[in-house]
């Protein structure tokens, strides 16, 4: 295993994505919607409305949250408690949806795309081992989604602190749970998703087929990730660490098994009639 070659494959793929406006513009728009526009509108509306009936009603619904979560909510006013709950609890799953959507879109096209463009022939004749190609492609698919999410997360943190902070006595975000979610749980889920999507990308006949099939995999995975991300935020740090550890274990096992998905013959587009 030559890590230098793996990083070369990853770096070259990322460079191609950066050069593709048609890729990063929608990616940026998606991240902006989830991390900037929606939170900005919602949180600003709630904090600006003041102590009106609508905000009271939302504040009342906070009672459905687990007791541990309710205990964490800060703020003395209904709008303060509501906006805090929204910022900390409601948007957590978004942090999982955005990188999974972006990364699986990239991952689905990565191996089959080499074949379609004819560049698979170059890789097939190169000294790079198929495992190195697989891991390089996995890294190159993971990084754009994760990077977009971290940039979005930074923007989100600023928005939350600037809008909700004054209502709850100062800057409070990210909470410990959010740090754990972003740095520990999220990469684990990304790994699971990408290891599966890359396996598909290595086997199907076209990028269109890869996108279709990856949707079938990623939709249930997004649902599970959504639930687990909520659990991670509502629960204790220990729960979050355990959820992350499980995701990493599944992700690493799936990646290990997925390494066999890259076959030189498939890169050439001639294996099994492909």
């Amino acid at each position: 295993m030559n890590w230098s070659r793996t990083l070369t494959v990853a770096r070259t793929d990322v460079k191609q994505l950066v050069l593709a406006k048609d890729f990063w513009m929608p990616m940026g728009i998606l991240g902006s919607i989830f991390f900037v526009i929606v939170p900005l509108v919602l949180l600003f509306s709630i904090t600006s409305l003041g102590d009106v009936e609508a905000v009271q009603n939302i504040a009342n619904t906070l009672e459905v949250l687990p007791q541990k979560a309710q205990d964490q909510i800060k703020g003395d006013t209904p709008q303060g408690r509501t906006s805090y709950a929204l910022a900390v609890f409601l948007f957590a799953p978004m942090a999982v949806v955005v990188p999974l959507t972006i990364s699986t879109a990239v991952g689905a096209a990565t191996l089959v795309g080499e074949r379609e463009r004819g560049t698979g022939e170059f890789l097939a004749h190169s000294p790079a081992a198929t495992k190195e190609i697989y891991l390089g492609k996995l890294l190159a698919s993971l990084l754009p989604g994760y990077f977009t999410t971290m940039v979005g997360f930074t923007a989100y943190s600023l928005i939350v602190n600037l809008i909700v902070g004054p209502e709850v006595g100062g800057w409070f975000f990210p909470t410990t749970q959010w740090w754990l979610l972003m740095l520990w749980v999220l990469p684990g889920f990304l790994l699971i998703g990408l290891s599966l999507v890359l396996r598909l990308s290595g086997k199907v006949k076209s990028t269109a087929a890869a996108q279709q099939a990856s949707g079938l995999i990623t939709l249930p995975l997004i649902a599970v990730s959504y639930a687990q991300a909520s659990g991670a935020i509502y629960g204790t740090p220990t729960t979050t660490i355990v959820i992350g550890a499980i995701a990493w274990s599944i992700g690493i096992t799936s990646t290990w098994r997925g390494m066999g998905a890259v076959k030189r013959q498939r890169l050439l587009g001639v294996a099994d009639g492909v």
Binding site: S4, T12, T119, A124, H125, P127, D272
Partner: protein
């Protein structure tokens, strides 16, 4: 299986107590071939692509795989680097088994595929850097290597431009530059001139010729017979996944046309029959109709003046006397014709 074959691997090295004698014996043995494919079978979805293919590419020479589309040339190249695994047979590339020593084999090979297989969004420089890094070229010398390879193929001015904007000829030159960046021992070119205009194709062929003067071994696939003419040190004619003949072009031509011949044309149509009567002359083996008149097969070129003299004395006005030197194109068609005849004869035998 080939009807004729070229260099064969020696395989063994002498041993004994007399060191000097051993060395003398070792040095007298021919160099092992750069590529040796023996009895290769390969099928795709049960459709056979290669059937018992034998190919030997001598070290330091240009071997040209000739054949029509679908003959198995590309599959053979892919098997040489280990990018594809044969269903049966033995492969040795630079003395190594590509299946077991794939990384080492591919590190020593430079490949240009039929489509240049370049990354259109990247610049020429990035494409070359990617290849250099994958082949493990020392990072301190990558820039020098890129500049030297690009200069050699005349694309140094376009290195910073996106490859998507390159012309077909420039893409081929970039692919050629990429194939030599890591200084490989073996160069494998699959239809390197496809899609090029005649001038660019000639330039590419000249570059390939230059490369063997540096000691590289080249294996090139083509179905353009004119390209192979004068370029090939060694040819292998393939058809339907099988090698029909292999060897040096001159040897193969001599094998198919062992006698010298001249093509003769005279004025007037009625004289063809007279020309065929030349077989009565000493030294004339036989005559065949040709494009311009008659081809006279001789047992020696010295007989030519006697033939001309006989015709003049018979009252013919000679329009053309042309010593016939068969081309690779003629060889190719003769080989394919002969293979077809052999196939038909075998079928008839089976039927009877």
């Amino acid at each position: 299986m080939a009807m004729a074959s070229g260099t064969r691997a020696s395989g063994t090295v002498a041993s004994g107590c007399d060191f000097a004698a051993d060395m003398s014996r070792v040095s007298s043995q021919p160099a092992p071939p750069a590529v040796s494919l023996r009895g290769i079978n390969k099928s795709f979805n049960e459709v056979p692509a290669l059937i018992g293919l034998d190919v030997i590419a001598p070290d330091g020479q240009i071997t040209v795989l000739l054949g029509p589309n679908g003959a198995g040339k590309t599959t053979a190249i892919r098997i040489v680097t280990g990018a594809m695994t044969p269903d049966a047979g033995t492969v040795r590339t630079l003395g190594l088994d590509p299946e077991a020593d794939g990384e080492e084999v591919r590190r020593a090979c430079g490949v240009v595929s039929a489509k240049p297989a370049l990354y259109d969004r990247l610049s020429g420089n990035d494409n070359l850097r990617y290849a250099a890094e994958l082949h493990g070229v020392d990072k301190r010398i990558i820039d020098d290597r890129i500049w030297a390879a690009a200069g050699r193929f005349g694309i140094e001015h376009a290195l910073d431009a996106q490859v998507g904007g390159y012309s077909t000829g420039m893409k081929t030159r970039l692919a050629l530059a990429r194939s030599v960046l890591h200084e490989p021992q073996l160069l494998l070119f699959d239809e390197p001139t496809s899609g090029l205009d005649p001038e660019s194709a000639q330039a590419v062929l000249q570059l390939i010729r230059d490369m063997t003067s540096d000691g590289h071994t080249v294996v090139m696939c083509t179905h353009h017979l004119v390209e192979a003419e004068g370029l090939a040190d060694h040819v292998v004619v393939l058809d339907a996944g099988n090698d029909l003949v292999a060897g040096k072009p001159a040897d193969l031509i001599h094998q198919f046309w062992p006698d010298d011949s001249v093509e003769i044309a005279v004025e007037g149509d009625s004289s063809l029959a007279d020309l065929h009567d030349l077989t009565v002359l000493a030294g004339v083996v036989r005559t065949e109709s040709s494009k311009h008149g008659v081809r006279v097969i001789l047992d020696s070129p010295d007989v030519t003046p006697d033939v001309v003299d006989a015709l003049v004395r018979a009252g013919h006005r000679i329009r053309m006397v042309n010593p016939h030197e068969p081309t690779l194109e003629e060889l190719y068609f003769a080989v394919r014709r002969s293979a077809r005849d052999l196939g038909e004869a075998t079928n008839e035998e089976v039927m009877s």
